[in-house]
């Protein structure tokens, strides 16, 4: 009866190791699996936050790139030197904005430096007038991956630059597709300052187009990764539910059945007590009848 009372109180058919050892083992394994799935979902949530931050920065970069392209197109021979200088100043500011965006940080440090997260990925060198003369990349080309399911590591980061010719595509600079955004912007700035509209249309406009293509394709990839994460998360959620259900089927007590059994056992116990009491109270023995 104790066992039944325990089952009714805890709602579990098996709770101790010896109640049903083989089922217990299965349940423990399932619980471990469930705990892992919960962790993978946490990982996915972290990665989603990171992917979001990455997207925001890339989106800002895209705006800069669009404006730079606009300026490059507008800077034809019909502009006056003052207008060109004004454009140059604007491009300078665009470069600095870009560098700032590229140096954004997430939970684990800078997000565009590859695995080099402790120092800012991009450093701009300026001359005495405050014009940017060069931007150097201090990061590397490897990106960290985290698991979203068993044996499924996923990376959501992009290195700022990749000049090695292999590995993840760099956001600003990549030797394979000719993107080199900051340098092209600096070149544009210099050409504007020098009034060299010919070079702008022959060299800068195509160069900036390559950069814009690169950034757009990176944004598209980010979108794909984010949807991948979201699918993985809902898959994990379904899996977790299914595992929990199996655990419940194996280890939970059917309350209706348990309570019925408990009630029947209690009644039997009461009957035994009562009949015992009757026997004792009516103790018939020979002694009652002798003298």
């Amino acid at each position: 009866m104790n066992r039944l009372q325990n089952q009714a109180a805890t709602g579990k058919r098996i709770s101790q190791l010896d109640d049903d050892p083989s089922v217990m083992r299965q349940v423990l394994d399932l619980q471990t699996q469930d705990s892992q799935i919960a962790q993978y979902r946490k990982n996915i949530a972290s990665l989603q936050t990171l992917a979001n931050s990455t997207y925001n920065a890339m989106s800002g970069l895209q705006t800069i790139s669009a404006r730079a392209g606009e300026i490059a197109t507008l800077a034809n021979g019909a502009r006056s030197p003052q207008e060109l200088t004004a454009y140059a100043i604007e491009v300078n500011q665009l470069i600095q904005q870009g560098v700032q965006l590229m140096n954004s940080s997430g939970q684990g440090g800078h997000i565009f430096g590859g695995t080099q997260t402790t120092q800012p990925p991009f450093v701009a060198t300026t001359d005495a007038d405050g014009n940017v003369t060069g931007v150097t990349y201090q990061g590397n080309e490897s990106v960290p991956a985290a698991e979203i399911a068993a044996g499924a590591p996923v990376s959501v980061q992009t290195p700022g630059a990749n000049t090695s010719g292999s590995g993840p595509t760099g956001l600003i600079t990549d030797s394979r597709n000719g993107a080199d955004f900051f340098n092209h912007l600096i070149a544009l700035q210099n050409h504007l300052r020098a009034g060299d509209t010919a070079s702008i249309s022959s060299a800068d406009i195509p160069a900036l187009a390559k950069d814009e293509d690169n950034i757009t394709s990176q944004i598209a990839q980010n979108g794909l990764i984010q949807s991948h994460l979201s699918v993985a998360d809902s898959l994990a959620s379904t899996q977790s539910l299914s595992v929990k259900q199996t655990i419940s089927e194996n280890s939970d007590a059917d309350l209706a059945q348990t309570l019925t059994q408990l009630s029947a056992t209690q009644t039997a116990y009461q009957v035994a007590l009562q009949s015992g009491a009757k026997l004792l109270s009516q103790s018939q023995s020979l002694l009652n009848y002798l003298t």
Partner: protein, 462 residues
Amino acid sequence: MLNLGARSLQTQQQGVEVAGHNLANASNPAYSRQRLEIQASTPLSTSIGPVGTGADAVAIRQLRDTLLDQQIQGETSVISFLQSQQTALQYAEAGIGEQLQGAGSTGDVGSPGGLASDLSGLFNAFQDMSTAPSSMTGRQAVISQAQQLTTQFNQLDQRITSINGQLNQSVQTDVGSANQLLSDIAGLNHQIAGAEAGTGAANDLRDLRQQKIESLSQLVNVQVSTDAVGGASLSIGGQLLVSGGTVQDTLETYDSGGGQLLVRTAGAGIPLTPAGGSIAGTIDARDGALKSLHDGLNTLATQIISQVNTAYRAGYDLNGNTGADFFTGTNASDMGVNAALVNDPASLQASGVAGAAGDNQVVLALGQMANAAQAGLGNQTFAQSYNGTITGLGTALASVNTQLDDEQSVQSMLQTQRNSVSGVSVDEEMTNLVMFQRAFQASAHLVSVVDQMLGIVVSLGQ
């Protein structure tokens, strides 16, 4: 004829005494009821043929079924064997402390704070850290989980060792009790031989001796054989321990290595492996299920330490150092977390290359280790190995529980049978008492009738 009357009075009086003795012992569980055997006395031959001369009480017989006694003895040994195993395994189960939580639990593995939960917590912490390897929070979480795990291993190991010690202690105590019973039984053999040297059976001493033999059967499985003078010879595993009134040999414990006690004869030093009784049951549980549990735990701890350390040593910490260990110690009893790590979370070697704080290759590999089949654990993961070890104990305990239930129902049937043969029924004894009382009255009346008749004969001569 007066003589006949006198002897009859004596006989009925003895009958009343026996009935009274039975009644007095009605609630003595070791007592078996006694019967007065009355026989007609030797007839006198006369001219008209043999004439009866009354009755004599020839013996007081005990109603006892020796076959039932032997069976009950055997059952007692078996039940004691199973009960001592059950107790030992229940201690171990309580020591492990893994229970499934009731409805409303939030994804715990086993008991919250238990080893299964800590194991899964550590690898989850590695996974968590892999998403932000340079973050101090993640590092501290890993270190704290690791400490919980090692503490849990240490505590579990300690509990099992202490249960082991308790079991050894109980073997020691039981052997002492068994030796005391051996000398008691030898003493009773001597007394019985003395009391039965004349005629008749020493019923009460025999009852007492049977009780002692049954107590001894609880401790250790004995083979009993009766000798010519009614003494019970006891032997265990073929070694004669009690013969007649002398104790030939006693039991002692000896250390079979590592403080584990086994039993042997004290004189000849021959090791004994009894098949029943609580001594054998305790030893069996200690060297069987408990040892498997302890070994399984130690193997798991050793594997975790070596696998984690191997992967970890290749990593680089935030200051570019490498080569340190994550876990210290060699098995469950001395497992610990590297003190340097505890003091400085930055020294956790998570990166696969020097100088790249965002690199998480080592900590990712550590997180992935949770699902890796370990060759040293029979191609199971760490969690599977632990779950298998503890459910092994659960299986052993469940099996003992079932067997014990079976044996206990057999035992209660045998005892009911024995009670029906040897137990005292108050009603029956009361009836006998009345019968002997009336017979006594009748015999007294016979004496007075004969006396009257003789008085008439004597007064004839006046």
